[in-house]
């Protein structure tokens, strides 16, 4: 056989494998799409950023442009009493969460872009308030990131709680990646930890570091838009948007540096390089990273037996490709990725409800409940 014939074949194989290797494994599979569908819980919400459940039939939903709805059996009523929201670019009213003792104290938390200083621009803030029927009272500003900026990018944000009386929330790098995320003296690109009354826990990692922001729990983040607590280990899991490529899932750890923008698996939107480093001593590797980017938002574990074979799996919304991603893990590694509900719309938020079902915030639609057919 003429060996020259083989050369184009070798080249073709090399070309194909080099293309495939550009996607970070495991390869995304698209199984039978008729097994799962959705029912609408509430509709007519443009960007349903955050949600939390008051009971099985009642929930609070935030709309990014600055509204909170209380939804009972599919009927939404606007809640009054919000502070003035600064809506610009990716910022506005963001996440909402009930206090772990909400049934007794009626306290809720929310994050939002605001300007309380009267200068130009805005930055992410955390508030608490008391919710009675359809109005907020006793609204308290618990944390406000500074300085304000007119940049449109990377405000975060999600709110979660551990079982030791702490609240965690994230703020993105606010479009200032070379300045904010690696500097402990500056806000942005951080996960923060507070006590439930807004005070700083005495054992926060940087309380004794001079000039450091005491509320910081971890740093080197780009734009955290998904956070959830692992139902068994209690760990705080987070996902964040990378640039072009390099979206990440991280398991948040006290005082750790998650590397942005010194290390990343992504490149600039323009295609130019940010750094040639994907790892450095003293910087954490992501638990998983997406190349290409899916634009992850929202994240939840399935901890119930409502869906066959999903218990323990992680679910992440894709804004960019408009589907729900299921990640199956074994021994601390992602071994399988699946598209669930392909082409459903920009999935902004994913939560597990008190009934064990998964609930999605989908842009231009509202809140949808995932059901197995």
């Amino acid at each position: 056989m003429n060996k020259n014939i083989l050369i184009p074949i070798y080249l073709t194989v090399f070309y194909l494998t080099s293309c495939i290797s550009q996607e970070n494994p495991p390869e995304l599979k698209t199984p039978d799409q008729t097994k799962y569908s959705t029912v609408t819980v509430v509709e007519g919400i443009e960007i349903p950023w955050g949600m939390d459940f008051i009971s099985k039939n009642e929930l609070l939903v935030t709309e990014k442009k600055g509204k909170v709805y209380r939804v009972l059996n599919g009927e939404k009523t606007e809640v009054s009493g919000l502070p003035e929201i600064y809506q610009r670019g990716q910022g506005g009213l963001l996440d909402i969460a009930l206090h772990p003792d909400f049934s007794k104290n009626k306290i809720i938390y929310f994050t939002a872009g605001v300007n309380v200083e009267g200068d130009e621009g805005g930055n992410t803030a955390l508030y608490s308030a008391e919710l009675n029927d359809y109005s907020l009272s006793n609204v308290k500003l618990l944390y406000k990131a500074t300085p304000n900026t007119k940049k449109g990018q990377h405000w975060g944000s999600r709110i979660v709680f551990d079982d030791q009386g702490h609240l965690f929330f994230g703020i993105g790098d606010r479009g200032n990646r070379d300045v904010n995320p690696q500097d402990l003296k500056r806000d942005g690109g951080k996960i923060y930890r507070l006590n439930l009354d807004g005070s700083i826990p005495e054992d926060n990692p940087f309380v004794n570091e001079e000039g450091a922001i005491k509320a910081v729990y971890s740093y080197g983040h780009r734009n955290p838009q998904g956070m959830t607590v692992h139902p068994e280990t209690g760990e705080i899991w987070e996902n964040e948007h990378g640039p072009k490529g390099g979206d990440e899932i991280n398991i948040i750890q006290k005082g750790k540096n998650f590397g942005w923008p010194v290390i990343t698996y992504g490149i600039n939107y323009s295609g130019t390089s940010i750094t040639d480093k994907t790892a450095m001593p003293g910087m954490e590797q992501p638990f998983y990273y997406w190349v290409p980017s899916i634009a992850p938002s929202g994240m939840a574990f399935s901890s119930s037996k409502v869906y066959k074979g999903w218990k323990g799996d992680l679910f992440v919304g894709s804004l960019k490709f408009k589907y729900l991603e299921r990640l199956v893990m074994k021994r601390g590694k992602v071994v399988k990725r699946e598209k669930v509900l392909n082409d459903i719309g920009r999935v902004r938020n994913v939560k597990e409800g008190p009934d064990g079902h998964l609930y999605l915030g989908v842009e231009g639609k509202g809140i949808l409940k995932v059901i197995e057919n």
């Binding site: 960007i47 442009k65 670019g89 506005g92 449109g152």
Partner: protein, 133 residues
């Protein structure tokens, strides 16, 4: 002397106002490029080509070039529902970005004069202010 200072002050102020109202096109386009990088590029891309069927193109976009006030309105108040751009249907949601009128004028001037687009119209903040929801 005092009068002279007052006079200089008034002239300077008037000039400032005049300059503000008639921002030179090149300056507006340059400022608009910054706004574009910050608020628009993620969806419409550096090339202005968007993503076929998902994010409409701005480069050589018939919708943009033939519907200037509608385009301003979309940036100012958000745009949803079906539109047809260069023969292709789009049914997405563009949220209002919270931009000021001058910033909207600047980014309009940038997208109207980039990627081979050409427009005889210079968008001013007054024109943006006149566009109602």
């Amino acid at each position: 002397m005092k009068l002279l200072f007052a006079w200089i002050f008034v002239v300077a102020l008037l000039q400032g106002v005049a300059l503000y109202q008639d921002k030179p096109l090149e300056k507006s386009i340059a400022d608009g490029e910054e706004i574009y990088q910050d608020f628009c590029l993620q969806c419409h891309l550096d090339s202005g080509d968007g993503v076929s069927g998902v994010f409409p193109p701005l480069a050589k976009s018939d919708y943009l070039l033939n519907n200037i006030d509608l385009s301003i309105k979309g940036i100012k108040y958000g745009l949803s529902g079906p539109i047809v751009v260069n023969g292709e249907k789009y049914d997405g949601l563009m949220q209002n970005q919270g931009l000021e009128n001058q910033e909207i004028a600047d980014v309009m001037n940038y997208i109207l004069n980039n990627w081979g687009n050409q427009s005889d119209e210079i968008i001013t903040s007054d024109r943006v202010a006149a566009v109602k929801e």
